[in-house]
């Protein structure tokens, strides 16, 4: 009787404490393995279907062919150059649009008058697909670089503006009371309460804006550029270089993934109080 009890305790104790994390860890690695395997399996299936001629190679080149093109475009320096030029266009437009969006968004959030003045304008212009404005932008700013910056800036501006204003209006009123009671001036309220308080929302706007920037730069480069990822995709269509087109698509996808990961890092660094 007493031996049985002693054994029961001995058996139930150590495995319980040891097994729990192990099985959890095993579950995590299993998930990780699955999430790596599933895209690999799809690529393998794709490769197989192309080789057995089930898929039309004119539309769906085999992943191995695309990989080969990716390597050769990199070695020739063509792809890095296109990536750089597209990124610099987005970055310039993004800086313009985000800067203006944050500044005006903060003022909209703080001042009812500015909100009343700006809201109808934003409400009217925001719903227009930004691509529809592209011809007008090209008409005004020409076919060169400025029109690319401007179209990206417009797309980024509205998203950042609306999110910033919403972020400021979401700030608890008690913080504004504290500011007033401690003698904060208008510029103090903007910089020490509105801006930091709205930062989480502002980041949402920046992320959305960056995604829109990617979309708009590709569209702009389709129409009026001699370089950039959009140009790469467009010319590969015109020359029926399907592998190159796929390389362009993969590159954009990679750019998106990497930049959003960088946004996460930046956010953790700029908003250390966010739990």
């Amino acid at each position: 009787m007493s031996i049985e009890q002693g054994e029961a305790i001995r058996i139930s104790n150590p495995p319980e404490s040891g097994e729990q994390p192990r099985s959890l860890g095993a579950g995590l690695t299993r998930e990780r393995v699955v999430s790596i395997l599933s895209p690999l399996a799809l690529l393998l299936l794709w490769e197989g279907l192309v080789r057995t001629r089930v898929l039309d190679v004119r539309f769906f080149p085999a992943p191995s062919q695309v990989l080969g093109t990716l390597v050769s475009l990199n070695l020739s320096g063509e792809l890095p150059q296109d990536v750089l030029i597209s990124l610099s266009r987005i970055a310039a437009g993004f800086a313009l649009g985000a800067g203006a969006g944050i500044a005006l968004g903060l003022m909209m959030g703080v001042s009812r008058v500015i909100r009343a003045a700006v809201n109808p304008l934003v409400g009217t212009i925001y719903p227009i697909p930004k691509i529809a404005i592209l011809p007008l932008v090209m008409l005004i700013f020409g076919l060169g670089e400025p029109s690319k910056y401007v179209i990206v800036a417009i797309g980024v501006f509205f998203l950042v503006l609306l999110n910033t204003a919403a972020g400021v209006m979401n700030i608890e009123k008690i913080y504004l009371d504290v500011g007033r009671n401690f003698g904060a001036r208008r510029s103090d309220v903007l910089l020490t309460i509105a801006l930091p308080g709205a930062l989480p929302f502002i980041f949402t706007g920046l992320r959305l804006g960056w995604g829109t920037g990617l979309l708009l730069i590709v569209a702009a480069e389709f129409i009026s550029a001699r370089s950039g990822i959009g140009y790469l995709i467009w010319t590969s269509w015109q020359t029926f270089a399907v592998e190159e087109m796929y390389v362009g698509l993969i590159t954009i996808s990679a750019l998106g993934l990497i930049s959003f990961a960088l946004f996460d890092v930046l956010e953790r660094w700029l908003i250390p109080w966010k739990t």
């Binding site: 608890e172 008690i174 913080y175 009371d177 504290v178 500011g179 007033r180 009671n181 401690f182 003698g183 904060a184 001036r185 103090d188 020490t192 309460i193 930091p196 308080g197 930062l199 908003i271 250390p272 109080w273 739990t275």
Partner: protein, 284 residues
């Protein structure tokens, strides 16, 4: 309506209970204060003809049933709300110090500033140089027992620690009048007793003019030189009770003393009717 009429009306009522307090120069004077808020198509009467005089260096507690407008009164004193009628006067000492600082509730701590940034906020707004600011902040952090937490963010602190930050933020600003809006309301009982004790210790050494809003009769009697009782909405001043308990006070000793119990009972008897009015109920 004449002022003298108002005064005599109040004096024939239950104005002063307990021994009269010494006549000191009024630091805060509130005359015929009214406040109404627009509510739907009509208005809500929050405060009705408040008359109040608070002496320099006095610790004045204001109690009243919830919704009686005591927080509104404090917000008007803090300049966060405009009176509908009447006037509020805080006599400046001419020292150039800020006239008042509010000890808000715990959730008023800025989450995006460190403890140091929060406590030094008022000084920063007054453009006190960084080095000087740091010195002042450090001394107040030590006073409220938060040394070592200067660079922590509020999410890393407990509720009691955040409330210490709020108290230190107001104290570091060195105002002539300290306005406190139920600062301990969201704290657990033990933390509350500890912080009440610390507030007593700090106040007894600094002797600032304090207006302290609370719904807790215990707290009001424990801390105050005088307890002002407000009526149910629209808030008026129903009575005042002087608290002649000796200082320095100890939370633990006071709570078991008979005088303390008597005073709490006295304030409760004044407040009871107002609470019943508010709840529309009748209790034996």
């Amino acid at each position: 309506m004449s002022a003298s009429l108002q005064k005599s009306e109040l004096q024939t009522g239950e104005r002063i209970v307990g021994p009269p307090r010494p006549l000191l120069k009024a630091k805060i004077t509130v005359r015929h204060l009214r406040k109404t808020f627009p509510l739907g198509s009509g208005t809500l009467k929050a405060l009705h003809d408040i008359e109040l005089s608070i002496a320099g260096g006095e610790f004045c507690c204001i109690v009243g049933p919830s919704g009686c407008g005591k927080t509104t009164l404090l917000r008007i004193l803090a300049g966060l709300e405009e009176p509908t009628a009447g006037e509020v006067e805080i006599e400046p000492s001419g020292s150039g110090r800020p006239l008042n600082s509010m000890v808000f509730q715990e959730q008023s701590v800025f989450p995006w500033l460190t403890v140091e940034g929060n406590v030094g906020y008022g000084l920063r707004m007054r453009r006190v140089p960084r080095q000087r600011r740091r010195q002042i902040v450090r001394s107040y952090l030590a006073m409220v027992g938060l040394e070592g937490f200067a660079t922590a963010y509020p999410y890393q602190l407990s509720g009691g620690m955040k409330q210490r930050v709020v108290v230190a933020r107001a104290l570091a600003n060195d105002p002539e009048v300290l306005l406190m809006d139920e600062p301990f309301v969201s704290l657990d009982e033990q933390t509350k007793i500890v912080l009440q004790g610390e507030l007593l210790r700090i106040w007894e050494s600094a002797r600032k003019t304090v207006v302290f809003i609370t719904h807790s009769i215990d707290e009001a009697v424990l801390l105050g030189d005088r307890v002002v009782v407000m009526t149910a909405r629209p808030g008026r001043i129903k009575a005042e009770v002087a608290i002649p308990l000796p200082r320095p006070r100890s939370v633990y000793e006071l709570k078991s003393s008979p005088e303390y119990g008597l005073l709490v009972g006295q304030v409760w008897s004044l407040l009871r009717d107002e609470v019943l009015v508010k709840d529309g109920a009748r209790m034996p």
